[in-house]
């Protein structure tokens, strides 16, 4: 398994001295996101997010299943993430997942599934017998830093884009209608989780948002925040790295609130545009 080489000293000196003056290597300001490109696939729920060069593909599928005995009134949502060498040749650890992968998977899981963004009770068809089982699969295509933000964006867009088949229940008889019979129904989503990652550098007071791969290697600590556009925090995660002041954390929360509002507007716009292009109605 190849281990990534440390960043060479001249690159490190260049990046850190530029950051000390508030400049980033790719010309962004410290709190600016990279260019966000959203493209939808042919199938509903197939979304590719490009954040700069970082590319994540998400796709949602659904099937009928029996509910878990502990929760007979709820459908299920499973999130599958796999970090393969496609993203970067250094993500190749067969067997136990690397620390990075564990944290990435858990964060996506917490932000999308455990936060309750998708209404699982609305996925119930016949209580105790039949429910919808949603599967969200994430494919990491390119890793140029900040896979987490791109992954969460792709996930929530995929879920919002997806339409499930309509169902009629007569007694305990379930009829699943195909696309030709009835218009597919959107999922019930309470709120839109959007994740923002901050990177901190030693002896530089200003943190940066959405770090590239190079900046990620040089940063000394990270703060991941998942928020909704309604000013609610879903996940806060700062594990390790150099310690931060309490005020710095709250400052970042304030900046994240603004960014989340902007990103949310963009994704709503993209969803609306795509909806106009598609033919979902049956005449």
């Amino acid at each position: 398994m190849p281990r990534e080489a440390d960043v060479n000293l001249s690159s490190k000196a260049f990046v850190t001295s530029a950051l000390a003056q508030g400049l980033r290597v790719d010309g962004r300001s410290p709190l600016e996101l990279r260019e966000l490109a959203i493209s939808f696939g042919r199938e509903l729920g197939n979304v590719t997010i490009r954040l700069g060069k970082t590319t994540v593909l998400a796709h949602t599928s659904i099937s009928l299943a029996a509910p878990s005995p502990e929760r007979p009134y709820e459908g299920t949502l499973a999130v599958h993430t796999e970090l393969s060498p496609m993203a970067s040749p250094f993500h190749d650890q067969i067997g136990r997942a690397s620390d990075e992968e564990v944290l990435l998977t858990r964060m996506v899981d917490k932000a999308i599934r455990r936060s309750g963004a998708v209404d699982r009770e609305a996925l119930c068809i016949v209580a105790g017998e039949k429910v919808w089982a949603l599967t969200l699969t994430l494919h990491f295509l390119t890793d140029d830093g900040n896979l987490l933000d791109a992954a969460v964006l792709a996930s929530i867009l995929s879920l919002k884009h997806f339409r499930r088949p309509d169902v009629t229940v007569v007694g305990s008889e379930v009829t699943v209608h195909t696309e030709d019979e009835r218009v597919p129904v959107p999922l019930a989503i309470h709120y839109t989780p959007i994740c923002i990652t901050f990177a901190f550098f030693e002896s530089i007071p200003q943190p940066i948002l959405d770090p590239t791969h190079l900046e990620t290697q040089l940063a000394t600590s990270f703060l991941n925040l998942a928020l909704t556009p309604q000013r609610e925090l879903l996940v806060v995660s700062k594990t390790g790295g150099s310690p931060l002041e309490g005020d710095e954390v709250m400052c970042c929360v304030g900046w994240a609130v603004e960014r989340v509002r902007e990103v949310n507007e963009r994704i709503e716009k993209a969803l609306k545009e795509d909806l106009q292009k598609r033919v979902l109605e049956v005449r």
Partner: protein, 273 residues
């Protein structure tokens, strides 16, 4: 099924505590004699034991760093620790995340540059769970590292906090953790800086600030308790040293002058530090 109130009319919680009251804290050092360092921490009914081996020869030559020590954390959760007795393997995601969080919390605090090409192993065993697992694990690890004599920049003290309506609650038990939005904060008390913040529930930004600051202050209180335990242990060690030296001086076959000089010295502990 009657629901237990989180906070009753008298302002008391389900277990009789006031909102900002911590659970009974038990801190013990050197609980495992074979390990280089060990500690056992209980917050109320949550009980965690940590053992530290190292710095020692690295087992895996591939992960050796030329200029610092490698920290390795393994967490084992006893099957009887949870209500319902669920057995969790090592690969369980929740446990892997706990281990990864603890490793990244302590990596910047342990002075790893003093031990290049070596390894520090931290083994954590969860004996009983009643909420506050992450906080107990972090506190136990801090004490175990101190017991092992591994140099640290500062104590790492962790506490959980939650929000019920607008009241901040500290040190949540299992019932409160599953019902309320909560966060765990690990702080370096001397500088009041934060090394770990973890929140997984939905909470408004303003409420979060309140519980965040509450947990920071609680970390300081826990530090006071930790310091008392560590100093008590050192005091015991100093007394034993004094006794050994006095006994050694009296029985030594040496010149009368040498024996006098040794007996005259008294090993004293500096409480001002």
């Amino acid at each position: 099924m009657s629901r237990v109130e989180i906070l009753n009319d008298g302002g008391l919680r389900a277990d009789g505590r006031r909102p900002l009251e911590l659970r009974s804290l038990t801190l013990q050092l050197d609980t495992i004699p074979e390990a280089d360092g060990s500690a056992s921490v209980s917050h109320g009914l949550t009980s965690v034991s940590a053992a530290v081996y190292g710095p020692r020869e690295p087992k895996n030559r591939g992960t050796v760093h030329h200029d610092r020590a490698v920290i390795n954390v393994e967490v084992g959760v006893a099957a009887w620790s949870e209500a319902g007795g669920r057995r969790r393997g090592r690969g369980d995601r929740r446990i892997a995340e706990l281990a990864a969080s603890i490793k990244s919390t302590f990596e910047p605090v342990i002075m790893t540059h003093l031990y290049p090409r070596s390894q520090v192993d931290i083994y954590i065993q969860v004996l009983e769970q009643d909420g506050g697992l992450l906080q107990a694990s972090i506190n136990a690890t801090t004490l175990a590292l101190i017991s092992a004599g591994v140099p640290l920049l500062d104590y790492v003290c962790a506490c959980s906090s939650g929000c019920h309506n607008t009241t901040t609650l500290l040190d949540l038990n299992n019932l409160e953790e599953s019902d309320l939005p909560s966060c765990t904060v690990a702080v370096l008390p001397a500088s009041f800086k934060v090394t770990l913040v973890s929140m997984e529930t939905r909470l408004h930004v303003d409420r979060f600030e309140e519980i965040f600051r509450g947990a920071l202050r609680a970390g300081r209180v826990i530090r006071g308790e930790m310091e008392a335990v560590v100093k008590g242990r050192t005091r015991g060690l100093v007394q034993d040293m004094g006794r050994v030296r006095a006994a050694g001086g009296a029985g030594a076959v040496g010149t009368g002058e040498g024996a006098k000089a040794v007996a005259g010295e008294d090993v004293e502990m500096d409480d001002s530090l």
